[in-house]
């Protein structure tokens, strides 16, 4: 991170001024924004450097699964439901920078290695909820497709309007990152992203694209629905 003395003093002075003016939920001085963005970029590097595939999440002992109280949201006007009659059978496309592009049905996914894990779901708002997720480790799917060495980012697209979120490849390859098709032992319902979604405790909830349609390997971060609205791109736990 390259912060000049002038930038630093400007930001320090401006934030002191904004503090003196009273907080009142101000978003702070406009000129501090570039400094905040640079701090975010630096944090992204710190988070990437600390990230380990051996760091595993586990639900706390004795924690009760949230079940139907598990919060859910979507960005379309109504809960997105895949319409087989109109859109044909649902399939998951894996493409972009891969040797073998894939098109997988739900049955195909369920025939692959299955992982079931009882983990936390970390929301950006600060709450957590526990559920048992079942699905294919994303790594298994990506190994099947053969990821190009130059690919660094994975973009997860959905049929929930224009919702998508892109991730660093390392987080996508974490053993707890699933293409999940079941929650608490039952196939996903539309509220939780049926027929399949990304779920991983290593990313905040908003990074876990529901209503998954396509996994695309690319070279550079491609933002995402919430990322484009100002939330952190990395959004990792």
């Amino acid at each position: 991170m390259n912060v000049s003395r002038r930038d630093f003093l400007t930001a320090a002075g401006l934030s002191a001024a904004s503090l003196a003016l009273g907080a009142c939920d101000s978003s702070g001085p406009k000129r501090a924004e570039s400094l905040l963005m640079r701090a975010e970029a630096a944090n992204r590097r710190v988070e990437g450097a600390l990230f380990r595939h051996t760091s595993m999440d586990h639900a706390p002992k004795g924690a009760v699964a949230s079940g139907d109280e598990f919060p859910s949201y979507f960005v379309s006007d109504v809960v997105p439901v895949w319409d087989t009659a109109a859109q044909g059978a649902w399939r998951l496309e894996v493409g972009g920078m891969v040797r073998t592009p894939l098109s997988l049905s739900l049955d195909d996914l369920m025939k692959l290695e299955r992982r079931t894990q009882r983990v936390n779901h970390y929301c950006v708002e600060g709450w957590t909820a526990v559920a048992e997720w079942s699905g294919v480790p994303l790594r298994t799917v990506l190994d099947l497709a053969g990821v190009d060495r130059a690919a660094k980012v994975v973009d997860f697209e959905s049929f929930d309007d224009d919702y998508h979120e892109s991730w660093d490849l390392e987080s996508a390859l974490h053993p707890q990152t699933l293409v999940a098709y079941a929650k608490d032992g039952k196939l996903l319902t539309p509220a939780y992203g049926a027929p399949a979604r990304i779920h991983s405790p290593v990313k905040l909830g908003y990074k876990n694209t529901k209503y998954l349609t396509r996994i695309r390997l690319i070279t550079d971060p491609n933002g995402g629905y919430w990322t484009d609205r100002g939330y952190e791109w990395y959004g990792g736990n």
Binding site: S15, L19, C24, D25, M37, Y122, T128, W226, G230
Partner: protein, 250 residues
């Protein structure tokens, strides 16, 4: 020689800025889900579950904005704290801050004086016993706030840390409890500065200080004797050994 080294003065005011922004933005983040219960669950011990923190004390504008401030300013807070602690440790300034064996008794003596039960300000060194307690506690409480903050920022990557604090939920409790303790310490500190020793603002800005203006010389208690005694040079009893200085029998 200045009463406070420039590193102490600098880190003090940077701390005001960094801690202020951390608390304001932290409460703004909290307002996105203003409670401690898991969705569908309950929490025993927070009476304002589900109620937003008033906007006068929050900062950041919206959840993402507050998060950006929080995760940027934390590095300033950490660097500033390490600089201060490094100075205090290496230059021996901790001697004025570490509580002493007699401090519980001396705190009681200060309280008796502040409550008007004793007429004369107890003898003290650089700080009185209550100050030592507060100034000594502040960095350790802040260290807990920072540690628990890191634990809820990276609960998977820093899993062992989060587990050591009792898991994500507990780390969140620690984060808020220690923050609340910092707020109480800071408000008490500001109240005492205003009501007992506004002259200390000068020593915390320029480092300048004179014995005549010390609370001990003024015999100052909250809102009493803010101005130095006419013609006084030091505490009138300063030459006579006070009871507190007589060694105790073993």
């Amino acid at each position: 020689m200045p009463r406070h080294h420039w590193i102490v003065r600098l880190t003090h005011w940077v701390n005001v800025l960094a801690l202020g922004i951390m608390i304001g933005s932290g409460l703004r983040i909290f307002n996105a889900y203003p409670g401690f219960a898991r969705p569908g669950g309950t929490f025993c011990c927070y009476p304002f579950e589900g109620k937003s923190i008033p906007s006068v004390v929050i900062f950041g504008g919206w959840l993402a904005g507050a998060r950006h401030w929080h995760f940027a300013m934390m590095w300033l807070l950490i660097a500033n704290g390490l600089l201060y602690m490094g100075y205090v440790y290496l230059r021996g300034a901790w001697r004025d801050l570490v509580p002493r064996r007699n401090d519980p008794r001396d705190v009681w003596a200060m309280l008796r004086f502040y409550l008007g039960l004793d007429r004369e300000h107890p003898r003290q060194g650089k700080h009185n016993a209550m100050q030592r307690g507060a100034y000594f506690a502040m960095p350790w409480v802040a260290a807990l706030t920072v540690t628990s903050g890191l634990a809820i920022w990276k609960p998977v990557t820093l899993g062992p840390l989060t587990d050591a604090l009792g898991g994500y939920q507990w780390a969140r409790y620690w984060h808020f409890l220690s923050m609340l303790a910092l707020v109480v310490l800071a408000l008490g500190h500001v109240f005492m500065v205003i009501s007992v020793d506004p002259w200390s603002l000068r020593s915390m800005i320029t480092g300048g200080w004179s014995e005549r203006f010390s609370p001990e010389a003024r015999n100052a208690r909250p809102f009493v004797h803010l101005w130095p005694r006419r013609g006084s040079v030091a505490h009138p009893t300063a030459t006579a050994p006070a009871a507190a200085d007589v060694p105790e029998a073993p």
